[in-house]
Amino acid sequence: MESAMNFFIENRDAVFIFVLAVFVGFEVIGHVPSILHTPLMSGSNALSGICIIGGIIVMGTASGDDIAAMILGFFAVVFGTYNVVGGFVVTDRMLEMFKKKPKEGKSKK
């Protein structure tokens, strides 16, 4: 129990950020119309490619003779980039189709 309390005190900022971000996430996305579920998913999917940053750090700070780290890091960056680029492009492709506005005078709010 005491260690749990210590953990919380020591990592207070991280815990706060976690809880607040969860709320922001729920709030921001809570009312998406189902028409946009697929683009929302592929869009947020592209965002999950943020792990590419970790890949860059891994590769960037590995010493050149650490072959294992270099190879794994290389793949991490490839996968992350694939996720980010593919995700954003495919979302844009879908949203482009949604963009076509209906005939004049029929606009919704």
Binding site: I35, I50, T81, F88, M94, P102
Partner: protein, 466 residues
Amino acid sequence: MEFLLEISYLVATVFFIICLKMLSSPETARKGNVIGGIGMAMAVVATMFLYKSPEGKTVGNYIWIIAAMAVGTVTGLLSAKKVKMTAMPQMVAIFNGMGGACSALIGLVEFPGSLDDPSKTVGLSAIFASIIVGSVTFSGSLIAYAKLNGNIKKDIRLPYYNVLNTLLIIVILGLMVCLLLHNIDNPPPWIYLLTVISLIYGVLFVFPIGGADMPVVIAWLNSLSGIAAMFAGYIYGNLGMIVCGILVGASGIILTVAMCNAMNRSLVNVFFTAFGGGGGRGSGSTITDKTVKEISMSDSAVLLYYSKSVVMVPGYGLAVAQAQHALHELETLLEKNGVDVTYAIHPVAGRMPGHMNVLLAEAKVEYDKLIEMDTINPRFPNTDVVIVVGANDVVNPAANTDPSSPIYGMPILEVNKAGKVIVIKRSMAAGYAGIENHLFYDTKTSMLFGDAKKVISGLAEEVKKF
């Protein structure tokens, strides 16, 4: 330097939030997506040129990083540009898997440096968590891909798969705790074992889940890929990664819950009970003494032409038959003749959340004609004709009336309240859930048998003649 880096992450995070916010309205969604992309580019560039590790190391190996990014960009662009809209669920599954793999790899590279330092327990648990969640996301997504793509047709269920999967989770967590408490000499082999077990768990987790539940699985894997990125972020204490990962995780969970609600099933039920395969579900009352009524193409065309309001109910069968464009043509023709035509979209129509909307949008159907279930249901009593194409379980009134039916309680499109229902169908075969549909035997319902694309094009031809 560090100041600039953190500021870039902060701005990127704000962009991500704006991106998600704007993605929730059709008017702003496209711009929102671009903003998200800009935020991501900013975070990446800032990391490349401003990052400094706690030991004071800056980022090097630029050639290799850029080479890797080039490979990822080219392959990502190609697949994103080439993919068909019907194959979108598979594509998203692959993207999820790659994100998960990325997080798992980061964990695998980072663990050797953290093992000897007991003060790094938090970092070490983040490493293990990112390996575990990343691996599960990766292998689970690959299986989801194979299932959606038709490479795996059966829902493979090992005997006692629920027990087996639970055991695997216990093994994974136990191994992680032992490693954290430094109870294990020479940890590296055990960490690889942890990775392998996590990969196996991902496979076994998705294998038994039936095709009808795929929207839930995809949404869940999406959430997991975000959670994996969050853990990877905790390895470095990188706020950009942490917050972004949480946002994705939260959005994935919202969609998962929305999908579960749309099927009136709990998350536990989807993950631990195979649909239609036991779990105490009955098969519903069977219909033996009733017959269906058929209608001819020309009669249907007359009926449509002279009605005031028509609602189309498309299901995944429509996409399989590639009949979206024909349906849009029919809609345009009817509209020209003063018939009010809308589409009723069930939340789980298609193979992923919102899939049907994308498929119809691709056929240039205007998005304000795509009506959600809760809005359209009260309108059915004032609708003259409903055309059901390639949908089955989502219009089965048994969900409202027959407590013995496996889908009892699932929210449905109440098409049986409309004046007339025309069901376009290949044969009398049951739907995905394998349940008899009482709607077909309703006196209001007429069946129009045939291939969806041919039938709808035929209807359009008939309407043109008037």
